[in-house]
Amino acid sequence: MVAPLVENGIISGNFNLLIALFIGLGFGFVLEQSGFSSSRKLAGVFYGYDMTVMKVFFTAAIVAMFGLLFFSLFGWIDLEMIYVNNTFLYSAIIGGVLMGIGFIMGGYCPGTSMCAAAIGKIDAMVFIVGIVIGIVIFGIGFPIWEKIYTAKALGPLKLSDLIGVKDGVFLLLLVVIAMAMFYAAEWVEKKFPRDVY
């Protein structure tokens, strides 16, 4: 097992920070090339006139999941060392709902707003100011919602384990679902008129 390279000491912590810059560069570049620097394109996913977000998002997740599973199969990566997000049931739901409100109102998410601000979108810069205010509000009020924030801690729980199937079977199911969603996305885009922005 060689990867994760940092965890196994193959590359140093400092070098890792430089690599982070380049990974971010790739991230920002792909987001912008895919049109994620446009709020009207992003919001299209909620109205059916532009389903790019869904297509990019699910394709990316599936490609990364295939990569992780095959790399693990080849013995290249130790999946035990891959960070699996901890599940705090209530907090994850509250957070998701608040972010959904933020998305439909603001038209961006944090990553895409950085990308859009980089090419000069003023609405994205204002959105970023909003993010900072929001995080400060959360931090100051933290004692109020600390209990709910840490409630129902389920640890690094994997959905495949929860429903009791192997990761590979789970991924196959996800691919089938994604294919159906892509098919629906292509159909719905034809139904709704698309602006040029």
């Binding site: 895919s34 919001a43 990316a60 490609v63 998701g96 972010m99 603001g106 204002v126």
Partner: protein, 181 residues
Amino acid sequence: MEQSTIESGTHKREKPYINPYIGGVLLGIVLLSAFFIAGEGLGASGAFKNVISVCAAPITSADNTTGFFAKAYHSLMEDSKKWWIVMEVLGVLIGGLLSGALSGRLKLKTEHSPKITKKRRLVFALLGGMFFGIGSQFGRGCTSGAALSGMASFSVAGFLTMICIFGTGYALAYFFRKNWI
């Protein structure tokens, strides 16, 4: 199809966006590289939190280790790996700028539906950002850190947060339709 070529021809010399599925594969490869090299996925909101915690450090007292930002600040000072996401988000800015420059999309403007005013768009952008800021802390990450990277690592939280983000968006889309369509 024809109309879009005419539009892009008469407007500025903007290059078209890439095919979303190709974009998705490329994004997947970037995400996989992050896992392969650093052992964790991509993110964005964590960088905001970290930078805010550094700025807040002079305000919060030194022996305060229980506050939300104080905790983040102390772990930043102890573990250089916590800077990873800050560097990554700096990279996002550079990558976005580079892509925009190469495709002729660098332009200072407020993007909004012709049906609403610029002011209305900016007010909603600010409010949306605030909701996203608060939500990203509850969610322990945003669309990239919690939803995308969480999903890719099969995490329950990742799928749950993703469903809640998009589900809420769809549930409320009707009420905000004037802003977008």
